[in-house]
Symmetry: C2
Subunit: 359 residues, 2 copies
Amino acid sequence: MSLRLTELANLSTPSVVIDLDVARANIRRFQAYADAHGLNVRPHIKTHKLPHLAELQIEAGAVGITCQKVSEAAAMVAGSQAIRDVLITYNIVGVEKIARLAALARQVRLSVVADSPAVVAGLSEGFAAMSAPLTVLVECDTGANRCGVASPGDAAALASTIATAPGLVFGGLMTYPPAGGEAAVQRFMSEAKKLIEAKGLAVPVISSGGTPTMMQAANAPVVTEYRPGTYVYNDRSLVTRGACGWEDCALAVLTTVISVPAATRAIVDAGSKVLTSDLLGLSGYGHVLGRDDLVIDQLSEEHGRIVSNGPIDLKVGDRLFIVPNHACVVSNMVDEVYLTEADLPEPQRMPVTARGRII
Amino acid sequence: MSLRLTELANLSTPSVVIDLDVARANIRRFQAYADAHGLNVRPHIKTHKLPHLAELQIEAGAVGITCQKVSEAAAMVAGSQAIRDVLITYNIVGVEKIARLAALARQVRLSVVADSPAVVAGLSEGFAAMSAPLTVLVECDTGANRCGVASPGDAAALASTIATAPGLVFGGLMTYPPAGGEAAVQRFMSEAKKLIEAKGLAVPVISSGGTPTMMQAANAPVVTEYRPGTYVYNDRSLVTRGACGWEDCALAVLTTVISVPAATRAIVDAGSKVLTSDLLGLSGYGHVLGRDDLVIDQLSEEHGRIVSNGPIDLKVGDRLFIVPNHACVVSNMVDEVYLTEADLPEPQRMPVTARGRII
């Protein structure tokens, strides 16, 4: 994030500001890594929820996008002609949602995941009468202990269930890896692939993801596709893990000091309703750019409390950039963001198209 | 919250559901307490952000509403003719925001707070040329260590500053009390009132707030007005503190089980993008109504992980109500909520008018 505070003098606070030059560099950096290692890139758009940024990712070489919810995917597809290929990495459950999914499948190349026969049965019922089958990948639990089948054997069994279900076609394997889990991914996926191929089924896609270890993605060579999300913006959690520097953070919250009630305490107008309470294992609620000496030690809904050891050297009206702990949830708090770039004289206001699309 | 799951069979999940009968009872309960103790009620609408619920609060006897941001107040005022009196408990800083404030002051009886001469100067500059002065209360730090002047003497000095500033009129004192701090509020406010009255200034309003200790509000008899927010919905944090029971919780998130990948683990379709990561000192991210044996131990953005000691007894497609840790931040995540009541055959969809109004 470059500190172009002067250019943002007319922006009311708190506002979420995106440095497009930094975002473009982040997109290019991972695309180059993936290209060098023969990996397809399918960015998770949960981070930005902006068709415009999805277009930049696709222009850079992404094979399509990843979404988490049907309504999120529908908003993205409606927002850009360039989005032609969508993977929803989520078990879609319920007649109403599957009807939405079917409507979306008529517009773009669509795939989803499943981790149980119950989910497969629901999808099959919804797609049996469709002219084209729905591609379904098996979600695998490689150690993150969230969704996913528990073993390569279970993955193979579910692959067969999908392959024989009316209206569906087996599309491959998908996982969200555990922390530092490339070895676990490689082990699970290699074994599952072998078992599935032994049944005479092809495994066209093996999809993994996650920004924190994306630059080690090639350590699981069985993977064909990678789904980073946060990498487009980066955030304090990634800087703290050593995955990037502050200069690689493309999203920040512009905020105003509204009170300096004590020598070592200041209050800004960004609270949990913009920064969120996500800690991601950190202490404190964000990083004040250019002020390593400050700690955001407490958030109320509309107040951020900043403390210092020595005199805080802030006054009412001062404006600060805060890099949040977790960029993906901050994008989702605001109806619009402001895009800046070196060549742009004024920040450009852009609605966050898929904000709040949780259905 | 009454469990009317059957009536909500057509609702896609996750959805935020409000039991209006419970909300009405919550409103009546505190209004009765306040009436019995001669306290004015000025509910903080940050919790619901719905003009309709503000109307219920005003009909029940509230003297007006409290908002935290100018844009939030503007949305509420635009949403209901019944809202005629608004206190914004926030330092409003910056020319653009003060211009919005002036526009609002032409529509309703408006008051704000200040805790420094710098804030007072900005307000005075914006209102000096207005036909009617702006009422400004002094925000006092009675121990919460957020905003506010630090001592009764500072409060009195700032009261004088306001009283002599062009375009402003001194309106009284305001605080957000520390945990269990009625005694601290009584001590600070009595002393400040005495000092201010000694200068020949009246102190028409002394405003305190906070749901957790609202039923002890009368222990600070110097207070004339109380600003509870969360009380209208209640939440897990308040049940845990003993302030209410689960049956007094008017807001819940309706969610669907999308995976049961292990005998003691299930995943629901509500994650941090609806429940938020607010912990408020608790462990776990909400309470599954009717299932005291379950713990929501982890949230991803769109996944909630539920664990149990024994067999979890859930299957894909089951629907659950989750009472969140903190109701106020959950309202703010969704573009609409669904209102239910005993006499209503179908849930009523209602846009969350002031959602995301953080400016």
